[in-house]
């Protein structure tokens, strides 16, 4: 009897997972929010810290207008770079390794949920995770700057998972 109840509950949970955000938002959110007990080291050699170079007020040159790169997406409360997003960063690394006069700003962003202060730190951590990956791909650290906004600059002003997914991102702005 007990077993039946357990498997019934399990069934409901699985159903909720399959239905996703439409029917059972809270379960979906809980799972997303609780991710990351295992932290994946940044970069290829087990990660590490790459101190940021000195910051000059003003932009490092003129915006590069002839290329654009896709934003990197993140899971809720996570700064880990998903395998699906690595190609986007590799494309930038490839471009920057061929164009040595280009500097990139990585702008980290969060969705609107949660503490604004924590979100500012989290968005910066996202930008720095992308930066660490770029560095591991051979781009010099002094060509990769971060500029994070927390939840202050959403792309999509909606209040659903579809909007939140758009807003959890690292954007690239290239200057020459």
């Amino acid at each position: 009897m007990k077993k039946t109840i357990v498997s019934a509950v399990f069934g409901v949970v699985v159903c909720c997972l399959l239905i996703g955000s439409s029917g059972c938002t809270s379960v979906d959110e809980e799972l997303l929010g609780a991710d990351g007990d295992v932290l994946i080291p940044l970069g290829v050699d087990g990660g590490g810290e790459f101190p940021l170079g000195p910051r000059a007020d003003g932009l490092p040159g003129e915006p590069v207008a002839d290329v654009a790169f896709d934003s990197v997406a993140f899971l809720y409360d996570s700064f880990q770079i998903a395998d699906s997003e690595r190609g986007k960063i590799e494309a930038i690394a490839d471009y920057m390794n061929r164009n040595h006069d280009v500097t990139v700003y990585i702008d980290g962003h969060c969705d609107e949920r949660g503490s604004r202060e924590y979100n500012l730190s989290l968005s910066e951590h996202r930008a720095l995770a992308i930066r660490a990956y770029l560095i591991s791909l051979g781009v010099a650290g002094n060509r990769v700057l971060t500029r994070s906004f927390g939840e202050e600059q959403p792309l999509d002003l909606g209040h659903r998972e579809s909007a939140w997914r758009q807003n959890r991102r690292g954007e690239f702005e290239l200057y020459r």
């Binding site: 101190p51 949660g114 720095l128």
Partner: protein, 406 residues
């Protein structure tokens, strides 16, 4: 600590003063708010006939009720009797105030308070705080100030208002977002994060002069600044060394000490303990943001939150308890952690979001952001059980409040 110098612009105060429901002066509240309250009567306080005097009386009554310590009742039912007068003469508004115990005849307070005739509300706040302090021996909050972020203009600017939400004054017009304002221990300066120059930097505003200076602009983020109780240090989150970590900055020498070293985690939201020996903060080193406590000199951090899948925005209160926001069943609730018992209590339960708590100087009330239907307003709750009170009544979103110390 010094009383907060009445913030600029009594003109602005006037604009807003009348707006907030000066209800009829004969309201008698009996037996509300549970036990532990002292009954008090203002019937022996005769306000003169003018508008300034009547406003004084109404605000005083409301302040005493809001303090949470009193039930304002009729004279015959009261333990504490307030007698005296409020009159305007010679360009001054004066309140003569004699506060006695009706049963024993013992005197709590006998004092004359004066203000300019346009400052009825401030005068009432002064008297209310003096009564609370004389009768209950705890700091009053009526005269205290609250800083918050408001998006009234579509931008996210800093505002300062009174503890009752009145006298709202706009402080910044940066055109870029302002974040997480906090007070200096003497409540004469504010610290906040602004994107004023394109990056999240920490700024200090001297309230008396309105002068603003940038106090932290390291590469990366500069955020969450909180001044130490002696006012000499600033705890903050910086990412200059490669990821967001906790640091302490000496304001005068600009010497920087790093407190945390978590390669794979982000830190945020420091808050000093009242004795300045410890700092509560947020770290996501376990995969979700949780509240930790660390010695202000550095060392090993100790996690203090274990319930709720996110625990953020700690604020260390004047009596040693830490308020924070805890995500439970998909909603943020305000919780209070007691370091003595290591227990935590949830002080909100409605299924809406309650975030960024900040203790009042009385260690009893908490101001916070309440978000329902994606609209945010600032509310005050009473940890001793009185109903929550909404402070912001304007268009736009209002959030990240911080209650000034006094």
């Amino acid at each position: 600590m010094k009383r907060f110098p009445i913030l600029c612009a009594s003109i602005l105060a006037l604009l807003l003063a009348g707006g907030r429901g000066a209800s009829g002066s004969d309201i008698v509240i009996v037996g509300e708010g549970g036990s532990g309250k002292v009954t008090i009567s203002l019937k022996g306080m005769c306000p003169g006939g003018g508008a300034a005097e009547r406003l004084f009386y109404d605000v005083l009554e409301r302040d005493l009720t809001r303090s949470g310590w009193f039930n304002v009742v009729d004279r015959t039912a009261a333990t504490v009797l307030v007698e005296g007068s409020c009159t305007q003469s010679g360009g001054r508004l004066s309140a003569v105030c004699d506060v006695k115990n009706g049963a024993t005849g013992g005197r709590y307070l006998s004092r004359v308070f004066t203000e300019t005739p346009t400052a009825s509300r401030q005068l009432a706040h002064m008297v209310a705080d003096a009564i609370v302090e004389a009768v209950k021996k705890v700091p009053g909050i009526a005269s205290s100030k609250i800083v918050l972020v408001g998006s009234k203009s579509g931008k996210k600017d800093l505002f300062v208002c009174g503890a009752d939400g009145a006298d709202m004054v706009q402080l910044t017009r940066d055109g870029t977002p302002c974040l997480s304002p906090t007070w200096s221990p003497r409540a004469d300066n504010l610290f906040y994060t602004s994107f004023h120059r394109g990056f999240p930097d920490v700024y200090q505003v001297q309230l008396a002069t309105g002068q603003r200076s940038r106090v932290a602009s390291y590469p990366g983020i500069n955020a969450g600044a909180d001044a130490s109780p002696d006012g000499k240090l600033l705890a903050l989150a910086l990412s200059k060394d490669g990821n967001p970590e906790l640091y302490v900055l000496q304001l005068r020498s600009k010497k920087l000490t790093r407190l945390t070293k978590t390669k794979f985690a982000a830190e945020a939201s420091p808050s000093w303990s009242p004795d300045g020996r410890q700092i509560a903060f947020v770290s996501d080193s376990t995969g979700s943001p949780q509240v930790y406590v660390i010695s202000s000199g550095g060392g090993k951090a100790q996690r203090i939150t274990f319930r709720g899948n996110e625990n953020v925005s700690p604020d260390w209160g004047p009596d040693g308890r830490i308020a924070y926001s805890s995500r439970r069943q998909g909603r943020y609730q305000i919780c209070v952690y007691d370091p003595n018992t290591r227990g935590d209590t949830s002080v909100t339960e409605e299924p809406v979001d309650h975030e960024s708590p900040s203790w009042a100087p009385d260690g009893r009330h908490i101001v916070y952001t309440r978000t329902q239907g994606y609209r945010s307003d600032v509310y005050v709750l009473d940890t001793s059980g009185d109903a929550e009170v909404r402070l912001t009544q304007f268009q736009g979103d209002w959030y990240s409040p911080s209650w000034a110390p006094r």
